[in-house]
């Protein structure tokens, strides 16, 4: 009897050790962080596609408090933590000679002239002059070339990812993989991003009121005394309406070990199964400059690849934008340029299981839509306008199959 007992003890020891060692012992930790200083954030990436290109400039507020929330421990700002930087003079200089002036479309949001189209091989430099006279400039960024995606395929992943933006937590995904051949004669740095267009049947919700299409003002919901203040009515879209999802993973790659070789089966996006309807997935393979790659690698190391025994302790990451008068000022963000190779992939979701038809509304809101009943409050219930925004469009995306 002696031996089996030892066997079990040993097993237990190993399991305890490994379990504790790798994943068993990670707990949520509550923080309460007060930002003392205010920092400038500049985000923007120019590419060679004929689309609207922009630079956004914000400033974090000093004395903002970031706290872990009580139940989910998600870190949230206690109040609005940014101010858009308005009325700045923003310019991009191409190859040291052509100057493009950006116009402020919405507060803090500066758009390149529509005539602009980035050219691989050209260099770009960003200049910002704030209204208080402070001048910032980026380093000169050269738009590198990127090879085409040779093969793209996807696999259904029932385990999926933890998606806290939804009401259900873990969600199955379609995982996208690419093959590409790295050019042999140059150093290459890559970044992948994805944009997903999902059909959304419901595009307005009124709390304590009814939806009027011809209300004549920006607010389409009008309070109705017959309804409780918390009553929710949802309205179907009058036309086709797409919700736009921007992939939030940070997928980057350098050819430092793989120059000139074909890369196969590189996982580059995980598209959540919000509903069983087909959707359009736009996969972008873009080039990065060496320094932009290093910057994003650090962002990744400090906030995504963390929690191992061998973490790199975080450090301030200096981007490529500096205050001309005070080089030690920490400016957040990076002015990037990159050539883009785009693949518009029709994801029919025939290989999936568990998704609901028209299930997007439920997943995002945690409840089924509650349509206003006909004839109860008025003769006809209107259909809602699909209002275009960063996250929604009524214009059918290129590549959509009807």
């Amino acid at each position: 009897m002696h031996l089996p007992m030892r066997f079990n003890l040993k097993l237990l020891g190993i399991v305890l050790l490994i379990a504790g060692f790798i994943w068993g012992c990670v707990d949520l930790y509550k923080v309460d962080i007060q930002t003392a200083k205010s920092y400038l954030i500049v985000e923007g990436s120019l590419n060679d596609l004929p689309e609207r290109q922009f630079i956004s400039i914000y400033r974090t507020k000093a004395n903002t408090v970031f706290k872990s929330s009580d139940f989910t421990s998600t870190i949230v700002a206690q109040k609005d933590s940014y101010d858009p930087v308005r009325a700045a003079k923003v310019q991009v200089v191409e190859n040291g000679s052509i100057t493009y002036s950006l116009s402020e479309e919405t507060p803090g949001f500066y758009v390149m002239p529509f005539t602009f189209l980035g050219k691989p091989g050209s260099s770009y430099q960003l200049f910002i002059e704030l209204s208080d006279g402070k001048k910032y400039r980026s380093t000169i960024e050269t738009m590198a070339k990127v090879p085409p995606i040779e093969r793209i395929y996807e696999k259904f992943n029932p385990k999926g990812i933890l998606d806290r933006s939804t009401s259900i937590g873990n969600i199955a995904t379609n995982d996208f993989y690419v093959d590409f051949t790295d050019p042999v004669d140059e150093r290459n740095f890559y970044r992948w991003s994805s944009i997903t267009y999902e059909i959304q049947k419901i595009c307005a919700t009124c709390r304590g009121g009814l939806y009027y299409k011809d209300a004549g003002s920006l607010i389409e919901c009008q309070t109705d005394n017959r309804l409780s203040v918390n009553n929710l009515f949802d309205y179907e879209a009058e036309s086709l309406c797409w919700d736009i999802f921007y992939g939030n993973s940070l997928d980057i790659f350098s050819d430092v070990y793989t120059n000139g070789k074909t890369q196969k089966d590189k996982l580059i996006a995980q598209i959540p199964l919000y509903q069983s309807n087909p959707c359009l997935v736009v996969i972008r393979q873009a080039s990065l400059s060496p320094n932009a790659y290093r910057y994003l690698k650090l962002v990744q190391d400090q906030s995504i690849n963390t929690g191992t025994l061998a973490d790199t302790p975080p450090a301030p990451i200096k981007g490529n934008i500096v205050n001309e008068a005070d080089k030690a000022e920490l400016v957040l963000g990076y002015f990037m340029t990159g050539m883009v190779n785009e693949n518009r992939y029709w994801l029919d979701r025939k290989n999936t299981s568990g998704g609901q038809p028209d299930g997007l509304f439920y997943i995002k809101n945690g409840r089924e839509p509650n349509l206003e009943p006909p004839f109860l409050y008025r003769l006809s219930v209107p259909k809602a306008i699909c209002v275009n925004s960063e996250n929604r469009t009524s214009n059918s995306p290129s590549g959509w199959r009807f």
Binding site: F21, P313, K318
Partner: protein, 797 residues
């Protein structure tokens, strides 16, 4: 130290006055076997002079003492010390001392701080000698005896946490400690990312920890020395020891080949049980972990004056998971770590005269770490291999004078570093890549002396080290006022093979003075300068096994550390109680730190990722111990601080915390350790540990921003906050020889251990993670629950 090879070496002091001399002679034998015991230090102090001798091979000794009352002490590591009193009126005496092995009786030998009673050895400061028996009493996680965890119970020794790959001694980094196993350096002291240390416990004889005065014969590291001596093979009899714990098996076999002349032992420990993991959890399917180490040692007593020993040490680690980050920029899902150490030492000791011996040592140390990725589709292994190789020859004369002791020696060292070889295996996606090797060599001469006169004693050492970084190499010159990077290179010069690219040299004085107004009290002060030419370039909290070693060159200047120490030692009641108080201040020049965002992987020019600066550390250590009796133990408190600062001439963009002083990763101001050992009866004893220390610094974000469709933390100052304080209680229950039969050749012991008894969830790190649009803070715990374990050890003679 070396005396165990020299059983005949006599340590005489003579009384010069015309005074009546009494003679005390005798034989020391083992209380059970009646075998003579050599190497026992027999000593006493009379008229402020030390009278001492070491028992010879037949266990005999003879002391000539001035007439008077004397207390004679008999001491040997592993045996219970004894004291005999001699009376003024006694005639010349002949004694037979029956020496008991520690394991044969109740009294314990514990970790001792060398105070006045260690009068055969040097009056150094900050030296702790740790006997393996003492180490085995300390409750250990999983019952695996561990010297690195053991020494953390001493004041002034700390670490960044339970998965720390090494310890921090008096404000030094882990790579500033020289860890020697029978004179060969250990570059990676732990298995499994810091969980277990790498020496087979059965083979350890003792560990000398020098954290204050370091003898001049040691060099090459800036903070401290851990000198681990392996046991010498026993030429008299066959012995076997071994054990089983939840993690590993171990076995040591000692075989005399020619009785009294030639013997060999092999000691091994291994942990190979990972194949069982998937039985418990599917998630563990991908985890593979195993480690092992083997020590072999051959001892040959050529004749009465010459001995030769040959030691080989081999250590192996393998760890594979898909739960850790992969080798960046290689497409694959599973990561593995593999590291190997192969060390060899050949030592020849020749007794030239009874007072003079000559020792020559040749050592080779090879360390080969690998990190790799298994490609998903093909299961091909892509390996990033590296290596550190050191060869050293040392030769020294030891002279034992009347009131003095001298060592004069020289050594020559060759270093070869392979910083990285990317081996794609059969991969069609990855290129082979080899970074050029780095070559360097070092020549040293050293002298150590020790003189004692009345209440004063002094040790002084002087070392001169001369280091040469050699070609072949590509030597870059950078724009002086710009950040050092690929863009600021002015020129690159080819240095030919064997040509000296850069040389550094300098003296390293070591001084210790002791003043002892009486037998029970002494004051010591010391000054130490040490130079370090090889270091780890790492950007992680604790170096990982694959961290890169880098020798000094044109751009990386050697680290120079100055240490000033002072101490007070008081013993009470015949050395039963000990009180020590030590303070230190340490300043290091050219200490290295990584630039914000540094990356060393396959980096051909690590100087572009490093900054140098100053480090200062200071502290006060108080320790009180009870060394004898059924109840032994110690309690200590340390106040210690360590700060770093980048040099002012470093470019502003590369400064850490804008060039201000900042806390080191391991700056933990308050530490408190309590270790108690209770002997209940002949068979049962209990040990308790309690440790407390301030949480270590970590870098907390100063805010969060929405960026690239996600929510990311941003950071400003390094080490701006602390993780929660660390505390823990451990218990061990030792059951000795439960069969109760004293004279059996086979003796079995059980050790039942509970590590982290009250289940404190100590944080190892606090980190921030961005996941699908939300950020959260987490704490990582290594041992968040009580770790209960049982180990069985046996001894057969």
């Amino acid at each position: 130290m070396n005396f165990k090879f020299l059983p005949l070496l006599l340590l005489f002091t003579f009384e010069g006055f015309a005074q009546r001399i009494i003679k005390m002679e005798g034989t020391i034998v083992d209380s059970l076997s009646n075998q003579p015991i050599s190497g026992v230090a027999v000593s006493t102090v009379a008229n402020n002079k030390i009278y001492g001798q070491i028992s010879d091979q037949s266990g005999r000794f003879a002391l000539f003492l001035p007439a008077g009352d004397h207390i004679i002490s008999f001491k040997l590591s592993g045996y219970v010390p004894q004291w005999r009193s001699i009376n003024e009126k006694s005639p010349d005496q002949t004694l037979t001392i029956y020496f008991q092995k520690v394991e044969h009786q109740l009294e314990q030998v514990i970790v001792s701080t060398k105070g006045y009673d260690e009068n055969i050895r040097k009056p150094l400061l900050g030296v702790n000698q740790i006997d393996i028996k003492a180490l085995s009493k300390i409750p250990a996680a999983f019952g695996e005896l561990d010297f690195l965890r053991g020494i953390q119970m001493l004041p002034g020794v700390s670490s960044v946490g339970e998965a720390s790959n090494g310890v921090n001694i008096r404000g030094g980094t882990t790579d500033q400690n020289l860890i020697l196993v029978d004179n060969t350096p250990i570059f990676n002291p732990t298995h499994m990312f810091g969980l277990f240390s790498v020496i087979p416990p059965d083979a350890i004889s003792n560990l000398d920890l020098y954290k204050g005065n370091v003898p001049a014969r040691f060099g090459g590291r800036a903070a401290a020395v851990m000198d681990i001596s392996l046991k010498t093979p026993d030429v008299t009899k066959f012995k076997m020891t071994g054990g089983l714990s939840l993690i590993s098996e171990k076995l040591m076999v000692n075989v005399p080949i020619i009785k009294d002349r030639l013997a060999v032992y092999i000691a091994a420990r291994g942990a190979f049980h990972d194949f069982l993991l998937p039985v418990f959890s599917e998630d563990l399917d991908s985890v593979r972990t195993r480690f092992s180490e083997v020590v072999g040692k051959l001892f040959w007593r050529i004749n009465a004056k010459n001995t030769l020993s040959l030691m080989g040490y081999f250590s192996n680690d393998y760890f594979q998971t898909n739960l850790l980050a992969t080798l960046p920029n290689v497409v694959g899902e599973t990561t593995f770590f593999e590291h190997k150490t192969n060390n060899y030492a050949l030592k020849w000791v020749s007794l030239l005269t009874p007072k003079l011996d000559w020792q020559t040592t040749l050592t080779v140390a090879n360390y080969d770490p690998t990190i790799g990725t298994i490609e998903t589709a093909t299961r091909n292994r892509v390996r990033l291999e590296s290596g550190v190789y050191q060869k050293q020859a040392t030769s020294a004369f030891n002279y034992q004078g009347k009131n003095s002791k001298w060592e004069l020696g020289t050594s020559f060292t060759k270093y070869h570093i392979k910083p990285g070889i990317l081996n794609p295996g059969n991969s069609t996606s990855v290129n082979a890549l080899t970074l050029p090797s780095e070559f360097s060599q070092e020549a040293d001469v050293f002298i150590d002396g020790e003189i004692s006169k009345k209440q004063f004693a002094a040790t002084f050492g002087l070392r001169y080290s001369y280091f040469m970084a050699l070609g072949p190499a590509d030597l870059r010159t950078y724009q002086p006022n710009e950040p050092r990077d690929d863009l600021s290179v002015i020129e690159s010069q080819r240095i030919d093979k064997g040509k000296i690219m850069k040389a550094y040299g300098g003296f390293e004085p070591r001084l210790g003075i002791r003043y002892a107004p009486n037998n029970a009290l002494s004051f010591k002060i010391g000054y130490n300068l040490m130079r370090q030419y090889i270091q780890i370039a790492s950007n992680t909290t604790t170096p990982i096994p694959t961290s890169r070693w880098k020798t000094s060159d044109v751009h990386i200047r050697p680290q120079v550390s100055h240490l000033i120490t002072g101490g007070l030692y008081r013993s009470f009641k015949n050395d039963i109680y000990d009180f020590t108080l030590e303070g230190y201040f340490r300043k290091s020049e050219n200490s290295i730190d990584y630039k914000p965002g540094a990356d060393f992987l396959l980096q051909p020019f690590p100087e572009t990722q490093l900054v140098q600066g100053l480090s200062k550390a200071y502290g006060v250590e108080v320790m009180f111990s009870k060394k004898k009796g059924n109840f032994t133990g110690w309690i200590n408190y340390t106040y210690a601080r360590t700060f770093n600062k980048t040099y002012a001439d470093v470019n502003v963009l590369e400064q850490v915390n804008n060039g201000n002083w900042y806390r080191a990763n391991y700056d933990r101001p308050h530490s408190f350790n309590l270790s108690i050992n209770l002997t209940a009866d002949k068979h049962n004893s209990f040990s308790f540990n309690f440790v407390y220390s301030t949480g270590r610094p970590y870098t907390e974000p100063v805010g969060f921003i929405e960026y690239l469709n996600n929510f990311y933390p941003y950071f400003d100052e390094r080490n701006n906050n602390r993780i929660p304080a660390y505390h823990r209680l451990d218990l061990a229950w030792h059951i000795k020889n439960p069969s109760m039969k004293e004279d059996k050749r086979w003796k079995g012991n059980w050790v039942f251990t509970v590590y982290n008894l009250y289940a404190r969830k100590n944080a190892y790190s606090v980190f921030f993670k961005t996941e699908n649009g939300a950020a959260r803070a987490y704490k990582l715990q290594i041992f968040g629950a009580p770790i209960v374990s049982l180990a069985y050890n046996f001894n057969y003679e």
